[in-house]
Amino acid sequence: MDGNGTSQILVRLRDVLRDSAVEERDWDAVAPETTIESLGFDSLTILDVLYDVEEEFGIALEPKQVVKTRTVGEIIGLLQQHGA
């Protein structure tokens, strides 16, 4: 995984999370090892985030793959696989 590419994606991902999520939190502290569970999404907010992530990166993710991910780093990996 390209370290520079990863950090650029992480910055964009944080921006999406900041805009999409209802909950207030320190999104700048989100790191690749941050677990998805700790971000506090529910079955609705996860959909908002997925929609906005796809729009931000201009790609279509396979939803079943996304729900298998456990960390932000795995999401970044998926985005890179799809050409982000």
Binding site: D42, T45, V66
Partner: protein
């Protein structure tokens, strides 16, 4: 739990047991009449809910004056009583092909017959929505999203009495945020009712008045690309129904999330309004659908 609440829950539980005993002992037609009478009794006794229902009926414009609204409201209360009996005795309906007339467009039929494709089916508290879910479970497993009842004893009783087949209820709230996505990915049907006040929903006109509307069905369609349709199951005669599914509702993403969701919800609300206008006495009017922002 406070003592008085425990007592109320216990009383409700035994009232429900008594109702079920009546349903079990009586033949279907008599049980339906009995439950209809109980619905009518509830209409008389529950003044606050009655006022909400009359106000809703007038606001929706399906009755011209309060007297007509009261008549519709009472008929709808009787209807809700019979819905309970029909759901408990659903095997009588589901096993008899003459009891359910079905209209399914070709595009929806193709999805139902494809084991790999999930389907989002939306309805409202109209006709007998639960029978619709049970009937569709002959194609694929159906998961109906429901809010748990306030009384856990009655909830447990209701769940133990629901016919299983391929139909199951799943709670609205769960720690796993991806469970709806997984379910659709596994080729199941996800059934949702979209006509309850949604505190964090989107303001979408319902009978011309803004109503906070749940966005889950629309968002699931937009994100998972799972097909989406609207269903109604209207009572045509006692223990006889017309199950109608709309053609697939499709929306290409525009990049504007709220605009996409609103377009889908407008279509869904429009289809529900159409069904209600035809049979206003088969709708659950007692819910405070047009709550003010602060409520």
């Amino acid at each position: 739990m406070a003592f008085h609440l425990r007592v109320i829950h216990l009383l409700e539980y035994w009232a429900a047991r008594l109702l079920l005993l009546g349903v079990d002992l009586l033949p279907p037609a008599a049980a339906s009449r009995w439950a209809g009478w109980l619905g009518s009794l509830w209409w008389t006794a529950d003044r606050p809910r009655r006022r909400v229902a009359i106000s809703n009926i007038l606001r929706a414009g399906v009755a011209g004056d309060p007297a007509a609204a009261r008549a519709i409201g009472r008929a709808a209360a009787r209807h809700m009583g019979t819905v309970l009996v029909e759901s408990l005795k659903s095997a009588l309906v589901l096993d008899d092909p003459d009891r359910v007339r079905v209209r399914i467009p070709d595009d929806v039929q193709a999805v139902l017959e494809d084991p790999d494709q999930g389907l989002i089916v939306v309805s409202g508290h109209f006709g007998n929505w639960e029978l619709a879910g049970q009937w569709l479970s002959r194609y694929k497993p159906v998961a109906g999203i429901s809010r748990p009842m306030n009384n856990p004893r009655v909830q447990e009783l209701a769940l133990s009495r629901r016919p299983r087949h391929g139909f199951r209820m799943i709670p609205k709230y769960d720690p796993d945020p991806g469970r709806f996505i997984k379910l659709l990915g596994d080729g199941e049907i996800l059934a949702l009712l979209v006509d309850q006040h949604a505190r964090q929903g989107l303001d979408v006109p319902f009978f011309g008045h803004p109503a906070k509307t749940h966005t889950t069905a629309a968002m699931l369609h937009l994100v998972t690309r799972a097909p989406l349709c609207f269903a109604t199951c209207r009572r045509a005669a006692p223990m006889t129904f017309e199950l109608t599914l709309s053609p697939l509702i499709e929306r290409q993403r525009s990049g504007e999330r709220n605009a996409d969701v609103e377009a889908i919800l407008l279509a869904l609300n429009g289809l529900l309004e159409e069904a209600i206008r035809r049979d206003p006495d088969q709708y659950l009017w007692g819910h405070r659908r047009w709550r003010r922002r602060t409520e």
